[in-house]
Amino acid sequence: MLKVRIIPILTFNGFGLVKTKQFANPRMVGNPVQAAKVYNFRGVDELIFIDIFASEQKRKINLKLVADVIKECYMPVTIGGGIESLDDINNLLKIGADKVVIKTRALLDKQFINDAVTFYGSQCISIAVDAYLSSDGYKIFNKLNIDITVDKFIDGMIECNVGELVLNSVDNDGIMNGFEMDLISHVSKRTNLPIIVAGGGGDMTHYNRLFSETNTKSVGSASIFHFTKFTPLDIKNELKTIGIPVRIT
């Protein structure tokens, strides 16, 4: 049986790991290579590493550092931040990334996503869906003044045959007060793609609710691992008590 995936998300600012609250106020939380080493030792299911300021600051992700992170990982790794071309994707795959996660370019240029899928295959193109609740429903958070609903953005990405969505609640990001269940139910009804949900996990009851009340199969988390004693294994042990299939190494 396919196991649910518990995925640490490491967000990077070009120098060190940071953790945001509602996509703002980044707080330094450590060294990426060291973090990757710890998560590999703990046998996590997968790891996501994103340079969250690369696109905004118009720079490329630091490939040397990404290579050092990936070197520590004997599990799948997804890399994101500032991806603008097929070469950018190839450079990441060449140093051992399994998937890339794209947002900014996906908002600007759907054809690029089509090309990326055609060339590298659906399975390695993940799309970040950073959603916030507006008075007109869920929209995509971005700093480009692009006004687009979550539904419209996701439908466009489904047409491009992408492999996976990383659904992040901007409102709940870093708040550690629980997941945005309405958003998650809404998006998972819309597509058959694997979805990694993120944003809001703070204690075990949040994960218990997420997996018992929605058909979530993967969760990405950061704050809970940075700021509490809980590890990915604690989440798995919690989910096991409600009959959710988990992988325990």
Binding site: M1, L2, K3, V4, R5, G43, D45, E46, I70, K71, Y74, M75, P76, L93, K94, I95, G96, A97, D98, K99, T118, F119, Y120, G121, S122, Q123, C124, G163, E164, N192, L193, P194, I195, K217, S218, R247, T249
Partner: protein
């Protein structure tokens, strides 16, 4: 020396990293002489079937691989797309001939209630344990939207449950292949590579 075939289809670095970790000597190459002189051949790969065959063709590797693997019976391991390409036909994005070393084809998943791609850790059921003897756990990392359907069921080395019994691994004479990624499956995956190359490096 293991020849890891470099044909422009993704993640060769991870495979070599795993072999380095196991102290197995390898080279990432499409050089015909290097491949001829290798002890065994590893065909990795992610991406589309059609593109994979085209890239092999552009590097004149189709006949060379056949000579080495089928005629000379050199030990061969295919991973993910590298397993799919050894079949007769693929369908990604359209019908396309494969290497044809094992009879059968590679259709897309048609699943009503399950996510496609099949992505994540899933436990396999072993049918032929030649290379699985030293695995302490049976969960492996899968990521694929197409799956292999061999004509001869005796070629199946392992299956995985995902809506039905999906082929997870093939074995026929000197040919071994996995749909999952042993190089991404932590200790169980490394155990397979170690067992395979201890016999065949």
């Amino acid at each position: 020396m293991v020849a890891i075939i470099d044909y422009g289809m993704g993640n060769v670095a991870s495979v070599q990293k795993a072999l380095n970790f196991l102290s197995i000597k390898s080279v990432i190459t499409y050089d015909h002489d290097v491949i001829r002189n290798s002890k065994s051949i590893l065909l990795p790969g992610v991406g589309s079937f059609f593109q994979g065959m085209q890239n092999l063709r552009e590097r004149n590797l189709i006949d060379l691989l056949k000579e080495q693997v089928i005629e000379k019976q050199k030990p061969f391991i295919g991973i993910c797309l590298g397993m799919q390409l050894i079949m007769e036909r693929g369908n990604e994005p359209e019908v396309c001939a494969g290497l044809g070393w094992i009879k059968g084809e590679v259709p897309k998943f048609e699943l009503l209630n399950l996510n496609v791609p099949h992505m994540g850790w899933n436990n396999i059921e072993i049918k032929n344990d030649t290379y699985y003897k030293n695995c302490k756990t049976k969960d492996f990392y899968f990521i694929h939207s197409y799956h292999v359907v061999p004509e001869n069921k005796e070629d199946i080395a392992a299956t995985v449950e995902y809506g039905f019994d999906v082929v997870a691994s093939l074995q026929k004479k000197n040919i071994f292949a996995t749909q999952f990624h042993p190089e991404k499956s932590q200790s169980a995956g490394l155990a397979i590579l170690k067992t395979f190359f201890e016999k065949n490096a």
